[in-house]
């Protein structure tokens, strides 16, 4: 069994969006309604601070998991790689992809506004704008 681990240095689950496109939970073209209907987006607070999100399997049987936390990207990849390495898992047994999109501040502001009841709509607009801009990039990021 092989694994695909996606990590992103944002508290909003950007890596999970890339993973969802990869496993087919999201279409190749951006669809806002489908994006916001996903459970891990609706309950994004639950999955902050690097709580792993299991996204399912690809057609090749690869298990896809995403991890997002607002921190230095190398901290996430460092913990993942070394923790698996010390338990005897080699890099051949999993693929680790660092999911990065420009405009970290947009995501951060949008995520913060989503937590404020009266400003949720604005937060959603900001996140939509940023994800839509780089959706194509997220789609092409993971080599099949």
């Amino acid at each position: 069994m092989s694994f695909l681990i996606l990590s992103s240095p944002y508290d909003f689950p950007v890596a999970a969006i890339a993973g969802a496109i990869h496993v087919g939970l999201l279409p190749k073209e951006y669809d806002s309604d489908k994006l916001w209907s996903l459970n891990f987006i609706q309950e994004h607070k639950k999955f902050s601070h690097a709580r792993p999100i299991y996204l399912g399997k690809t057609l090749r049987g690869e298990k896809v998991v995403s991890i997002s936390a607002s921190t230095k990207p190398f901290m996430l990849t460092g913990i993942i790689e070394t923790f698996l390495n010390l338990h005897g898992f080699s890099k051949e047994q999993y693929r680790l992809v660092d999911v990065h999109i420009p405009g970290r501040h947009f995501i951060m502001v949008g995520k913060t506004l989503l937590g404020v009841p009266l400003l949720q709509k604005i937060g959603r607009i900001i996140i939509n704008y940023q994800i839509k801009r780089f959706y194509h990039h997220l789609n092409e990021l993971i080599p099949s």
Partner: protein, 173 residues
Amino acid sequence: MKIIYHCYGGTHSSVTAAAIHLGILPNYRIPSAPELLALDFFDRRGGEDIGRIDFMGRDRYGNDVYVVGRRSRPQILYHITAGLAELFDIRPESYLLVDAGSCVNTSMRIGGVLSRRLGLVRLGRPVVSLGTIMAYKKLCRLVEEVQYRLLDRHMCLVTDYPNIYYYTPEVSR
């Protein structure tokens, strides 16, 4: 079992605790600053080492001892390790996360920032060494508690051993 001591930068309190655990530093007296500075990782790991779990040695019971820096967010370390353990069928009792950051005092913080963040090693190193000496008894107690629990585990043959989540101010905030 793999014992992972963690703190903010993974270079002061966690390294000292791991050294006490391994018997490199004594637990019956307070070491001198040169003894601390002679440790492999003490005040030597930088920002690029954050998140990297490094091997320190093997204790007399055959447990592997590691150190890691996790900034001020230990929950990231807890969540990733727990998640990966579930995904890769790693037994939760095969590793133990110990937060040495709970023993850190102001001198260690100031010295750590001066030496590691600002690069003022000559100024920061004596301050962080003094802070570590001041926190040494607390670190010894932490290690003692870990060793006691490990010993207790060996004697009682407890199969399900939970990870120790020590109180950390930044988590409770």
